[in-house]
């Protein structure tokens, strides 16, 4: 009788923390969607739109995209290590992910610095405003992710996570992969099209 009354959980093994992160990601994704759709609307009504390759450093940003892909790999490897019970692997891969995120931000700051020296600032044109608004918003996500990783790495150093308690690391991973996923789209729309 109890078996007949049993209700299958529609979210399976997903914890409330994980569902909360997914919900946040839906909302955050729509924020990026608003920015990109707004940019597309401005582009559609602009009398002229520059070729991104004439203004932006595409090979450098291509490298940055590759770097973010590498950090996604190291992040998922951190979770994989923890699931196998390797504390040292968890810490090593989290540190590598954080370092990758910092290098990504460093390259973005370097790129902005040269743009500003060349007079390419947000008030230069509608394209510049769209470029800075979208990439800065994404950069803030990377910065938040780096701080988030630092907090989890601190907790990992205290021995807070085990092979049976991986939830916090998995939630961090979802956020970090989302940052990578959004960059894939931002790179295509802002830098390549």
């Amino acid at each position: 009788m109890s078996e007949a009354l049993a209700i299958k959980d529609p979210f399976g093994k997903a914890t409330t923390g994980k569902l909360g992160m997914w919900l946040f990601i839906i909302m955050d994704g729509l924020s990026f969607g608003g920015l990109l759709i707004g940019g597309a609307a401005l582009r559609a009504t602009a009398p002229s739109w520059p070729n991104p390759g004439d203004l932006l450093n595409i090979p450098l940003t291509g490298f940055n995209t590759f770097l973010l892909i590498c950090t996604s790999f190291t992040m998922v490897m951190a979770l994989n290590s923890l699931e196998k019970g390797s504390q040292s692997g968890l810490k090593k891969y989290l540190a590598l992910t954080m370092a990758g995120g910092l290098v990504f931000l460093g390259i973005q700051v370097y790129e902005y610095y040269h743009f500003i020296l060349d007079g390419f600032i947000p008030s230069t044109s509608i394209y510049a405003a769209v470029f800075y608004a979208t990439t800065c918003f994404h950069g803030l996500h990377v910065l938040s992710g780096v701080i988030y990783i630092a907090c989890i790495l601190y907790a990992a150093n205290q021995g807070r996570y085990t092979a049976h308690d991986t939830d916090h690391v998995e939630i961090l991973g979802i956020f970090w992969h989302f940052v990578d996923l959004i960059w894939i789209f931002v790179f295509t729309v802002i830098y390549l099209i």
Partner: protein, 93 residues
Amino acid sequence: MDKDHKKTYFYNAVALTVLTVLELGVYQMPIAKMSQIVLLFAFAITKMMLVAMIYMHLRYETKVLRRILFIPIPAAILFAWALMYDLPFRWAI
């Protein structure tokens, strides 16, 4: 999620890198702008699906959760279409 997925994660990173290189190649190719846009979007969507399904472990989640997560995508497309349709009426000089 019980098995070691190291190889899957590594091959996924390789696939993402190859797709990024292809994107840069398409960007350099002297082809029609519309073909370029279609190809770039196809590569970007493939990369996003690889990240979501493999790295974010979405393929291990239930169908209900997956459906809930994909609902905002058609909503965003609808908003974009509605805005584009509205542009000539609001912003034309």
